[in-house]
Structures are given as C-alpha cells and as structure tokens.
C-alpha cells in the first residue's frame, strides 16, 4: 500500500489543532510555533504531492478508498485531479500565511490557531472527498471554525455577521443534503447499490435520471453552491462576513470557502446533471454577468475598503461561474485558473487592509489618504496587487479572466461581451480606491504610519510573486488542469447532444468546408 498522502493532508492539520489545545493557553509562542509547523508541514506534503502529480492525466490520483459505513453506503474516498489540485495547493499556501498574518491576535491565540487548522483540515476534506456524504460533512464542517473565527475575533457587528453567514449558507446546504440523498437513493432504486461515490453516480445519473427529476436535483445542488459562491442575488451575507471577519478569516473565506461553491459546480453539478446544465446554463450565465457588473458598481460606492474588496470578490467569482457555464475547455480552464488567481490577489488585498487596520483601527476610505508617500512599500505593493486584480496581462488574473471570457464568447457571445465590460469597471473601483487611500499628501496619523514589516512582507510577497509568475508562465497550472477539464466537457458532450466549439487555426485545419462536404454527399 502506498502512503496515503491525501488522508494525511486532512489528518495533519487536525492533529496540529489538537496538539495546540494541549498546550497551556498562556504559552502563546508555543501555540504559534506548533500551528505554524503544522501548516508548513501540510504545505510540504502538498508540494510533495504536487511534484508527484501526473501531468496530462485526467483521472483521480493518489486515490484511497475505504469502507466507512457499509450499511449506509458511505465510504472514505479521497482523490485529487486537475480540478481540485490547485485548490488543495492554495489551501496549503494560504493557511501558514493566514497564521503568520495573525501574530497580533493576542486574545485566546490558542483557540484561534486551532480553529484555523481545523478550517484547513475541513477544506482539504471538502476538496478531496469523492464521496458525496463525505463531501457534505466537510462542506458543513468548514462552517463551524469560520463561524467561531468571525464571532470570536471579528470586528463590530461580528455576532450578526457570523450568524448571518452560518444560517444563510446552512439554508443552502439543506437543499444540497436533500439532493445528495435523493440521487443516491434513486440510484439504489435503479441498480440496487447504495453508494455516494461520485465516480459511480456520475456514470449513471445523466441517463438514469428522469429529465424532470434531473432538473429539480440540478436546482437543489445549484442553490446550495450559488449561495456559497455567492451568486447575485444571494450574495448579501458575504460583505457582512468579510467586513467583520479577522484578516485571516477573510483571506481564507475569499480564497477558499467561496471556491467550494464553484468547485461544487465543477465536481458535482456538471458531471451529475449535464442535461439540465446545458439547458439552464443561460440562467447561471445571466446571474454571473449581473454579478460581474453589479458587484463592480456596488464595490465602487463602498465607504469601507474591506467591503469594497468583498464586493469585488462577487465580480471575480462572476467570471468563474461565467467560465464554468460556458461549457468549453477555455471557459472551464479559465474558471479554475481564476479560482486560484483570485485566492492569491484578493488574499494580498485583504492582508494589506488588515495591516492597515492594525495601524489605524479604521477601514474607512475617507480616513486614509497619501499612504503611498508615508509607506512606499505598502503603497507600491497595494497598487501592484490592484492591477493584478484588475486583470492586467502579466498577472495571473488576466490568464483566468481572459480564458473564461474567451470560452464564454465561443458559446454565449453576448454574455461575454457584457461581462468583458466588467474589466473596465474593475479598473474604475480599484483605481478610485487607490487614489483616495494612497495618493495625495498624508496628514495626521496617516503621515506617521509604519511601512510593512519583514513579517508582513513575508505574507504578501509570495502570493504576489506567484501571481506574477503564473501571469507569464501559466503552463504548469493549465497543463495540469486541462485533462480533467477535457474529461468533464467530453462527459457532458457524450451525455447530451451538446457539442463544445473548438475553433482551429487555418494551418491545422483539415476542412473548413468539412461539414458542408458531408452534407453534399
């Protein structure tokens, strides 16, 4: 038996969390060291897994499959493919950074560290599970640490925000649970086998479900994931949660938890319900396009810098959903790439806003001004990240958004045209924020603000560097995403009459007149 890498990725942070609880709460340093070592060890294992990952293969790798509860058909199945790979990597990268950024959390540092690690474990579990119930458990489990992080270490209206976040996403999950159980039981009725194994179910469901049933189940899954993304108009929990969450919470919330929604579409909705997916794609495309434009407009008017970034996430995630429901190789590639890229750049933006808050105890844009002069390194990095977030070529954001838009353009031209205008709006709200916060002459407390410390730079620079690297050389990521995406698109094509367009260059073209000549014969 080979070493169970993926199970380790789930257990390791959990073990670290338990270890921290064993240390006395007064020994904050030890707690932090244990937390950081755990997070870095998890990162190490993840990188080892990444190095070993077979590029060019579509299927699940590092699979482990153990019976858990044979009566109920629930199994411990974990595996990774191109769709989940970079979410796992992102999780492993963001957790140590979130811990490092939270060194200033003095109150109940022990519980804080433990919750972050539990969150990492839950997210690892959610991205790796191939059993629907197992996924659901981790999906729900991730809410608990995030709830406590917001309610325990948040700002102003943290109780309200935490509760809203919890109830709202829970309400969505209820639909998901119903959907999961229904699919599994219908499958048992049809075949006699009770299983929640996505690999089995996705082979059966496209043909096995009655069209109307498939449509209802599609709706149930979609609502759950749409709340999580969040799609317009189900988004209002997000700005509240983000604004009140501690920095580490925001980084992980934006970087990973929102991606559970888009990941859910990719992993479950598209493969299980290809027919309704093709038929109702326009609904999700419409909502995503509205989200892109609406998120940008509302972001522009926010008086609170953190809220502004929260709304910008709605716009970015709109590009992801647009790419997914474009149902083309480029669209899905772009969507997954954006999921990764958004985690990097928005992570940096939230980190810097957090550092600002620690210095000035405000996040109101009107309270700032001229910070670029007072803190040139911070200003320069924020401006750079703003441009990365705007989708400037040379940064990872461009690769993802461009592919998502291109993919959508091939199948749903006008949606892509409207969505592309979001690129202009992104420049408007971010550069306006930069102007108000960072340009001008600093006055009062703004004039004496400290520039970023080495620790803070350590948080920010790797993420930004990665975004820059992937902007110029996205191949390592695209090559690993590609085959799995192709498998999903092919699966949809085989299950439905849908055909993904694939324009080809004139030289490589066998027959631009191909279909016509066939008709002639």
């Amino acid at each position: 038996m080979t070493f169970p890498v993926l199970t380790t990725l789930i257990i390791l942070p959990l073990a670290g969390a338990i270890a921290t609880t064993l240390v006395s709460g007064k020994r904050v340093e030890s707690v932090r060291i244990i937390g950081q070592i755990t997070a870095l060890a998890t990162l190490g294992v993840t990188l080892w897994m990444l190095a070993d990952f077979g590029t060019g293969r579509a299927g699940y790798q590092f699979l482990s499959d153990h019976s858990w509860s044979s009566d109920l058909g629930i199994r411990w199945i974990v595996g990774v493919d191109g769709i989940s790979l970079f979410m796992v990597v992102l999780n492993a990268i963001l957790t140590p950074i979130a811990l490092l950024a939270s060194q200033r959390v003095e109150v109940r540092a022990k519980a804080f560290t433990a919750w972050i690690l539990v969150l990492e474990a839950a997210l690892m579990g959610a991205f790796l599970s191939l059993d629907l119930v197992l996924f659901f458990v981790f999906f729900e489990l991730s809410l608990v640490p995030m709830y406590f992080l917001i309610a325990g270490w948040g700002h102003g209206r943290r109780q309200y925000a935490a509760m809203k976040f919890f109830i709202y996403t829970m309400a969505g999950s209820a639909f998901l649970l119903v959907g999961i159980l229904t699919v599994a039981y219908l499958h048992r009725d049809a075949t006699g086998l009770l299983t929640f194994d996505i690999r089995v179910l996705q082979r059966w469901a496209p043909a096995g479900l009655a069209p109307a049933t498939a449509a209802w189940l599609f709706a149930a899954f979609t609502i759950a994931f749409a709340v999580k993304v969040p799609l317009f108009p189900l988004h209002t929990w997000l700005p509240d949660a983000h604004t009140e969450a501690p920095t580490a919470g925001s980084v992980i919330l934006a970087g990973l938890m929102l991606k559970l929604g888009t990941y859910g579409f990719l992993r479950f909705v598209l493969p299980l319900f290809p027919d309704p997916t093709v038929r109702y794609a326009w609904v999700l495309l419409t909502l995503s396009v509205i989200g892109i434009i609406y998120g940008a407009i509302v972001a522009a008017m926010q008086p609170d810098l953190k809220r502004l970034i929260a709304y910008s996430s709605i716009a970015h995630l709109g590009f992801v959903v647009l790419g997914i429901f474009a149902l083309t190789q480029q669209g899905l590639d772009g969507a997954i790439f954006t999921m990764l890229s958004h985690g990097l750049t928005t992570g940096v933006l939230f980190l810097i806003v957090g550092f600002l808050y620690e210095r000035r105890h405000t996040r109101l844009i009107a309270d700032f001004g001229g910070l670029w002069k007072a803190a040139p390194v911070m200003g320069g990095l924020f401006v750079m990240t703003a441009f990365a977030s705007v989708g400037l070529p040379g940064f990872s954001g461009f690769v993802g958004e461009f592919l998502a838009l291109l993919g959508a353009f091939l199948t749903h031209r006008w949606f892509a045209v409207v969505a592309a205008s979001g690129v202009i709006l992104a420049a408007v709200y971010l550069l306006w924020a930069v102007q108000r916060v960072f340009t001008g002459v600093p006055e009062g407390e703004n004039a004496t603000i400290r520039d970023l410390s080495v620790r803070e730079l350590t948080c920010v620079v790797p993420l930004l560097g990665l975004s820059l690297f992937l902007g110029f050389y996205p191949r390592p990521v695209l090559d690993r995403i590609g085959p799995s995406v192709k498998a999903v698109v092919t699966h949809i094509e085989r299950s439905t009459g849908y055909e993904a367009p694939s324009p080809s260059a004139p030289e490589a073209e066998e027959s631009p007149a191909g279909p016509e000549s066939e008709e002639a014969e």
């Binding site: 509760m163 809203k164 919890f166 109830i167 709202y168 829970m170 209820a174 649970l177 119903v178 159980l181 229904t182 039981y185 009725d189 108009p233 988004h235 209002t236 609406y294 407009i297 509302v298 083309t328 190789q329 480029q330 590639d333 002069k373 441009f387 400037l392 070529p393 690769v399 461009f402 592919l403 838009l405 291109l406 353009f409 592309a420 205008s421 690129v423 202009i424 420049a427 408007v428 550069l431 306006w432 102007q435 960072f438 340009t439 001008g440 002459v441 110029f472 050389y473 996205p474 191949r475 695209l478 090559d479 590609g482 192709k486 324009p503 080809s504 260059a505 004139p506 073209e509 631009p512």
Partner: protein
C-alpha cells in the same frame, strides 16, 4: 538568421533595468540609477540597429518576416499562444525610433529629474514603459501585443501620476488608464472574434485566414481593434485623457507623445491592416475619425495657454492625420508621419521641459517671451521643430504631412483632403503662436520689483492678474509669483537630446522623400503591406501643385500668427486670438466642453445611480429581503429568537426538515 533570433533582447534590456531599479533602485540612488536605465536603453537601441541590419541583410525577398518563439504562454484546448516576437519591416521601423528616442529622453531625464525624491523609481517606470512598448510592437500575436499594450497602460498610469501627492496628477493617471481601458475592451472583443472565427491569434496565421471571413465579421473585428486604437491614440471620442496626461513629469509627456504610447493605435491598425483592407466601412470610419480629430484638436490648440497643453492637442491632431492616412490605405505615409512626428514632437516636449525647468516651473506661455536670449540652444531646437511641424520644407514634417495629404487627394477623398489642409493652416498658426510667445517677443516673466524695460513699457510693474480666464479652463490665470532671477538654460544632458532630435527633424525627411527610387522607408515597408493597392499621383505636376498649395497655406498660417505675436503680448491677460475668436474661442478653449460634460455626468447621474444601487437596491431591497425572511422564520419559530444560543438547534431543525422531506419523497417514490 541567428542574429535575429536575439531580437527578444531589445525589450529585455529595459525590462531588466526596470526589475533591477524597482528592487534595488533606492540603494543605487541618484544619479547612477539614471545612468543604468539610460545605458540599458542605449544597449537596446544598439541591438535594434543590429537587428535592422541583420533584417535588411536577409537573403531572399520572401523572407520578410521572422518569428522568434521564446516560450509557450497559453495553452487551453485549441487556444495556444506563444510568447513570440516578430521581426518585419513594421516592427523593425518601430523599435528603431522607439529605442532611439527613448534613449535620448532617458538621458534628458537625468538632468530633469535631478533632486527628485523618487529619482530611481522614475527610471524604473521609464524603462518598463519602453519595454512594454517594445513588446507591443514586437509581439507575434495579438495577445503578446496586448501584453505590451496593457503594460504601456500601467506605466502611463504610474508615470502620469508620478507626483501623486498632487491630486490632479493622481486623477489624471487614473483617467488615462480607465479611458484607454474602454479601448482595451474593444481590443479584447476583437481577439475573441478573431479566435472564434479563425482559431488563432497569431498575426501570420490570422492574415492567411482572412479571406474566409464574412464581410460583417471583418468589419466588426476591424472596428473593435480601432476602438482600442482610438483609446490609446487619443482620438475622438476617447481623446480627453491625453491633455491631462501632462500632469506627469515632462520627459514622460515626451515619451508618451513621441514614442511609447500614442503611436500604439497607429501600430495596431497598420499591423492588422488585412482586416481593415477587407472592410471598406472600417477604412472609412478610420479615415473620418482621423480627419475630424485632426481638425477639431487643432482648433482647440489655437487658444491654449499652457505650453504643454498646446503640444498635447497638437499630438491629438497629428495622430488624426496618421489615422486619416491609414483609412485611405496609405500605410507607408502614415508610418512616415509617425516617425517624423516622433522626432519633432519629442524635441518640442523636451524643449518645453527645459523652459519649464528654467523658468521656475512656469507653464503659462502668456508669462514667458523672449526666452531665446537665456536659452539659445533650446530655442534653436524648438524653432527647428516648430518649422518641421508647421510643414515647412525641407523639414521632415513637410514631407510626411504632404505625403499624407497627397495620398488622400489622389485616392479621391477630396473632403478629407480639404479638412487636412484646414488643419494644416491651424497647425502652422498655433505652433507659431507658441514659439513666438515663448522664445520671441517681449519678456513677461519678471516680478514687479525687478521691473525692467519690457514691463516699464506699459505703465511699470506687472499687471493685475485676473483670476478668471475668459477662454481657457486651464490654467485659469497666469502664474504668480513671477521670476525674480533670469531664466536659465538646461544642463548639457538636457540640451543635447533636444538638439539631436531637432537635427533628426531636419534630416528625417530624407527617409520619406516621395521620389521614386529614393523613398527609403516606403520601399522598406513594402513587403509588410503586400497586396495593398498603392496610390500614385496622377502626374508629377499635380503632385507638385499640391505641395505648393500646402506650403502656401502653411506659410499663410505662420504669417498670420507672426503678425499677431511678433511683439509678444502687450498684456498677458489680453491675447489677440481671444478677441478675434470671441465666443468660438471659449468653445475651443474648453475643448468643446467634452471633458467637463463627461466629468459632470460621471460626478452626477452616474455616481448617483451607483450610489442608489449600493444603498437602495443592495442594502435596502436585496439584503432587506434576506433579513425579512430571517426574521419571519424566527418569528414563526418563536423560541428560536435568541440566535446566539440557537445555532445547534437551528442546524438540527434545518437538517431534520431536509431529511423528512427526503424520506417523504423516497417513500412516495417507492410506493
């Protein structure tokens, strides 16, 4: 072959400079970082020359394009883009003048930026700016060009708002980026269309497939690309960012106007000319937008009082000429004007930078005059460039502009030709006005206490400065306080570039002489525009007649201006042009109120709408509905009101409800 494979070095040198200076600039400090940047820029220029020589030396006629692939950039399904550079006559022409002029501007900046707190940072941005432009012109596909295109946009933002402590600079940078982004939106859509229909973004492969495109698609692609060009090259209706762009340090203006930014629009139309050739509609649009911009911007330039603002509108106008030529199909003439314009406009901007520098940061031409006595070399350079832009033979501007107008005439576009001639007269006028008000005529820059003859002439002491300008929005009134010392000439590193550029503006005409057999640039560019129908004059006499007419009209424009400004201004607040134009002057002075109208719209209704969306729709309606549902549920739940203690119970309830629903469903199904 092997030499051309190294063409990536051309953008690599300045890119390296940018990286080094961004990371270590502060430690390197002034002036070494300036010399590093200038040195690398110079290396890039030398490499460009080597590349050009190697390119000309290519063996056969067929080998007029050479693609170098550095690495694979994108790969997603059938969408593959290589990070590749293309050497062809167009890109070779561009890299030569871009690197050459950029080197001079770098050199100039060492003196100009002396003492600035962010000296090294400035050179880092400058290097990055040029590197981006070089990627733009060397890209072997639309996407690589777009990388440079957006890089140019980023650097224009950073450099225009370089002195970001000043709010106007910060706003101008943002304005430039956002406005050009509207054009970038068009560029992106054009790329989507090209890929959707041709399956590639590679220039070579796309050009081959154009024959298969439906006419409407070709028109759409061409017009979307042109939207991108309109943004970058500041044509109507996206022209309004450029005059504000002078908020940046003056060398940046020179770079933007001459080398690195605004010619990008001309470039993309020339590069993508097969799409435009395939659509008559798009060519007409390009031609008319160019013609209208050329004339309109020239009228605005007539009454501007800011030394750089005159030049800025002049650039908009000159770019209009270039688009006019592109629309006519006279690509060689357009590129000829690009090169000639680059020489004289860079000279004019650098010259005006020296003036600003030497007169205590004064930019108002109403309070200058007679500066030739204090900065004779700069004056010499400026005057040569003035004659060039005014279209006087034998300077480069004459040959270039004459060529554009002649092509329009012989193409049968007489209306456009007449518009072009009118703009030429205006150009001659406003450039003469500026030159005379700055370098000749009476001295109007002295403070009252130092009152000299010039001012004693009219009642001693200086004039009351009216705070309200009747005509021009910016600057509202002549600058105060005035100089208490003599204006001074720039340092040698500042004078030399101006003189070199002025020299080029004189002899630059040699490469674009319109005589058969010696039209060096036209002949060099020919292979790049294979298949484009050349335009020839109907006879030598007709061509000659047109030239005489053009020169005659330009000379008239100069003569009128000289008669008005020969002695400078009696009173800085009383410009004869304002009196003569009357109400029209106000319209010109405010640039037809386009900018202020847009400003009012964005600041008013647009902002109100966004605010309404954020407050009423988002917080009121959508979030209100959510909270309404939540309170409704908890009201029904009664005892569950106390949310803090009720998490587990709520979870249980919801999960329970789900399970019940599921069981009911399964039961019903299996019955």
């Amino acid at each position: 072959m092997r030499t051309l494979d190294l063409i990536w070095l051309v953008p690599a040198f300045p890119a390296l400079g940018a990286a080094v200076l961004l990371l270590f600039g502060k430690r390197i400090g002034e002036p070494i970082s300036g010399w590093i940047a200038t040195g690398l820029m110079c290396l890039s220029f030398l490499t460009s020359i080597v590349m050009a020589v190697a390119f000309v030396g290519l063996p056969s006629e067929a080998e007029h394009r050479h693609v170098v692939t550095v690495f694979d950039w994108f790969a997603s399904g059938g969408f593959e883009v290589k990070m590749g550079f293309l050497a062809d006559p167009i890109s070779i022409t561009w890299i030569l003048f871009v690197t050459g002029i950029a080197t001079l501007i770098h050199l100039y900046s060492i003196g100009y930026m002396h003492g600035d707190a962010r000296f090294s940072r400035f050179f880092a941005y400058l290097n990055l700016f040029v590197a981006s432009m070089l990627v733009l012109v060397l890209g072997s596909s639309f996407l690589v060009t777009f990388l440079g295109w957006e890089g140019v946009g980023l650097c224009s933002y950073l450099l225009i708002s370089f002195w970001f402590e000043r709010n106007s600079a910060a706003v101008a940078g943002k304005k430039a980026f956002v406005t050009t982004r509207i054009g970038d939106f068009g560029f992106m859509l054009a790329m989507f269309l090209i890929f959707a229909h041709l399956g590639t973004l590679d220039y070579g492969a796309a050009a081959e497939g154009i024959g298969e495109l439906a006419g409407g698609t070709a028109t759409a692609i061409a017009l979307l690309l042109f939207l991108g060009a309109v943004g970058k090259s500041a044509q109507i209706p996206l022209h309004f960012w450029l005059p504000d762009a002078m908020e940046g340090p003056t060398p940046v203006s020179a770079l933007i106007h001459a080398a690195t930014m605004v010619t990008a629009g001309i470039f993309i139309v020339a590069r993508a000319h097969p799409f435009f050739e395939a659509s008559q509609v798009s060519q007409d649009v390009v031609m008319w937008v160019g013609a209208i911009t050329a004339l309109t911007a020239a009228t605005v330039a007539l009454v501007q009082n800011d030394i750089k603002r005159v030049l800025a509108y002049s650039t908009v106008s000159q770019l209009g000429y270039m688009f006019l030529a592109l629309g006519v199909g006279a690509y060689g003439a357009a590129i000829g004007l690009v090169v000639a314009h680059a020489f004289f406009k860079a000279a004019l901007f650098l010259g005006s930078g020296t003036v600003i520098h030497g007169t205590g940061e004064n930019q108002d031409i109403r309070t200058m005059g007679g500066l030739r006595r204090y900065m004779p070399l700069t004056a010499l350079g400026f005057i040569v460039a003035w004659l060039a832009i005014a279209g006087m033979p034998p300077f480069a501007g004459f040959w270039a502009k004459d060529e554009v107008l002649a092509k329009a005439f012989f193409h049968g576009d007489y209306a456009v030709w007449v518009i072009g001639l009118c703009a030429a007269v205006l150009t001659a006028f406003y450039m003469t006005r500026e030159t005379f008000l700055v370098f000749l005529g009476n001295e109007r820059f002295r403070a009252a206490s130092h009152g000299d003859e010039a001012h004693a002439d009219h009642g001693g002491g200086h004039h009351e400065i009216s705070t309200e300008s009747p005509t021009v929005a910016y600057p509202a009134a002549p600058k105060e306080p005035w100089l208490t010392h003599d204006p001074h000439e720039g340092s040698p590193t500042m004078i030399a570039p101006v003189l070199v550029l002025a020299f080029l503006a004189v002899i630059g005409g040699l490469i674009i002489l319109p005589f058969k057999g010696i039209e060096i640039l036209g002949h060099f560019l020919e292979p790049a525009f294979e298949g484009v129908k050349p335009i020839y004059p109907t006879s030598f006499l007709a061509g000659f007649g047109l030239s005489v007419l053009a020169v005659g009209l330009a000379a008239t424009g100069i003569a009128v201006a000289v008669s008005m400004y020969r002695r400078g201004l009696e009173d800085p607040n009383d410009d004869p042009i304002d009196r003569r134009l009357g109400a029209l002057g106000r319209v010109f002075g405010n640039a037809y109120y386009v900018d202020s109208t847009i400003g009012r719209l964005v600041g008013g209704p647009v902002r109100a709408f966004a605010d309404w969306t954020a407050r009423v729709v988002d917080q009121g309606i959508i979030d209100g509905a959510v909270n309404g549902v939540a309170s409704g549920v908890s009201a029904i739940g009664g005892g569950l009101r106390r949310l803090q203690s009720g998490i587990v119970r709520q979870y249980a309830i919801v999960a329970f409800a789900g399970v019940v629903a599921l069981l009911v469903y399964v039961l019903v199904r299996s019955l």
